[in-house]
Symmetry: C2
Subunit: 365 residues, 2 copies
């Protein structure tokens, strides 16, 4: 009998599974720590919107029924909010799934995908699954170097992913840079703007939805996993020309977005107060952490998102392990070639404070 390794597709043989932030349950179970805070996965520490919780409760009795495979009411609400047509929206089991749908729909074997590095690992997995070829362009000052990305484009390029703000660095490219990029990029290349942290960004942030309206081959990704506080339910979406959405729907799993998630997302869109509170908390937490990092003499990357990449000038993995024992989960980013950094989610004031206390302790400051 053949070895199972001989049965798999050769191009997936070396894919490493995505390393998620450590769940609170795991830390409690493995380390016996009782009080654990999680600053590892850029969730909204305020919790879900109370309106969403109410909507979820109302949805529970009906979970024996399949979800609406068309996410009709959610798309209707999003369309209204974003000023696009329902047919220009595709909803997924998190944007993770929308990214997979994009490569499954458009990426032929050997075609190239241009991404920035360090950048989101999921683009790489999605590319490899479809036997595409990944081209990584280095960040410049921890920020997407759009000029370098343009230069990386060849006649084999099919897709470009621009995470804006970028994960794990938290940096953004602004409207003028994006405008220049869109003028120069060959029009048959599909440009994906992954805007998971959109609501946290400010300043001269580009409004990318309009490119699809102008007939450009762009896909804008947004999510309910970050500021909307619904990461556990898995809802993300993409906005593109109707014709692109039609093609992607061919291979979308028919019931990909669960029922509770659809109800929660609809309600969350109505809760402006929750979003505003979350932004205020994030701005205040950001200032506090900047101040504390400054006081400790630690460098960090100024963020446009709800997390901060901080340079601890020694093994991030080691400090991460030590922080775990203190009941604080942060994210080591050695797998992003940033071995001496940690990525920390901006959380509630008490959590930020606990983190700083624990960090001082384990760094011996």
């Amino acid at each position: 009998m053949k070895n199972i390794r001989d049965l798999i597709r050769p191009n997936i043989a070396n894919i490493l599974p995505y390393p998620p932030g450590k769940p609170i349950e795991d830390v409690k179970r493995e380390l016996g720590v009782k009080e654990v805070i999680k600053m590892a996965s850029n969730e909204n520490a305020l919790g879900p919107s109370p309106k969403a919780v109410k909507a979820m409760k109302d949805a529970l009795a009906g979970v024996n029924l399949y979800p609406d495979g068309n996410s009709y009411y959610l798309k209707q609400k999003l369309a209204e909010k974003l000023g696009v047509a329902m047919e220009e929206i595709i909803v997924g089991n998190g944007t993770d799934e929308v990214i997979r749908i994009i490569t499954e729909t458009f990426l032929n074997p050997g075609e190239e995908v241009v991404v920035a590095w360090p950048g989101f690992v999921i683009y790489s997995i999605a590319t490899n699954v479809m036997s595409g070829s990944l081209k990584r362009t280095p960040l410049k000052n921890y920020t997407h170097d759009l000029e370098a990305m343009l230069n990386a484009v060849t006649d084999k390029t099919k897709l470009v992913f621009i995470a804006n703000p970028n994960n794990p660095t938290g940096t953004m490219v602004d409207k003028d840079e994006v405008e220049m990029f869109m003028k120069k990029i060959p029009e048959d290349i599909i440009v994906v703007f992954d805007e998971a942290y959109y609501e946290y960004a400010n300043g001269n942030f580009p409004q990318t939805i309009r490119y699809a309206k102008e007939g450009k081959n762009t896909i804008v990704l947004r999510t309910f996993s970050k500021i909307y506080g619904l990461a556990g339910l898995r809802v993300g979406y993409g906005i593109a020309q109707k014709e692109m959405v039609t093609e992607m729907n061919r291979i979308r799993q028919p019931f990909n977005v669960n029922r509770v998630a659809q109800s929660a997302a609809i309600a969350a869109l109505d809760d402006k107060e929750h979003v505003e509170k979350s932004i205020v908390m994030n701005e205040e937490g950001k200032k506090y952490l900047y101040k504390e990092f400054d006081a400790m003499g630690l460098e960090y990357v100024r963020t446009s998102a709800n997390f901060i990449l901080v340079d601890i000038k020694r093994s991030g993995k080691e400090i991460y392990e030590k922080l775990l024992k203190e009941g604080v989960i942060v994210r080591p980013v050695d797998n992003y070639d940033l071995p001496n950094f940690l990525r920390v989610t901006i959380c509630k004031p008490s959590e930020n404070k606990k983190f700083i206390g624990s960090l001082k302790k384990v760094l011996g400051k």
Copy 2:
């Protein structure tokens, strides 16, 4: 600029999206019918287990956090129940997703997938997405013809899907037939037993989990969407050798199973009473529907699942449309090359009765 159709992968160009059962909301919206019952998607009409509802409620406050990507506690519970190791289980966003993970992991372009026809359309989409080649063998007496499936195997065959019980016919292949099949199938071919309706089957049903234990390349699929009443939450799973699961985990989306679903599924496994009640309801509903069909002179396929394929001897689509106006959603199966049949889920006594009344009316009986 190229047409968008020129940008997509050629092998997905003709995939038709899966046609789901019509949601209750759609019928109410489109036809203005107030009271609607759904007998179209083989859900459990009893609803979710009360224990699961309780567990879901408890999970809601934590949906701002990503789900455990490893589904640790759910796999632990399943492993215990099934007598397998946790590492032999992969959990998905419904078995739909596990099927996609299987083809993405194992199916090289041009390799063949043997399925029965009429059979579940998702196998075909999953095959086409990975540029595989689908070989359909006709059912015999509405039942998988395992001998014909063996004969369809060539040296290019990679996967065989056996839906047991089969959808949309409700028939099963028994232990002896499967045993014979497994003896003859070349050992490098991966055999997938899709047992979504496992809990409803009785008689000499094969216990297929043991094949993986014997080192065979089998994957058994089970779901929480049917008897467990959690279709709306999306949880299905596969059981296979540890080495196969390890390979599939490379490309599994890291947070594929939502948090509420994991909690609900764990609780549902503890609710034996709900499962038993569901079986009793199904057996009684089956007898009632058989009797009524007999009285109406309609032929049907005897079922091992929670639905019945009934021969209405005229356009299923037409009768389906008429039933919609009566507030009864059933499933036309013309897309399964069964234009004169309807597939009807066995529901609660009152619903079965309403369906029979409406069917008599629209058939003019």
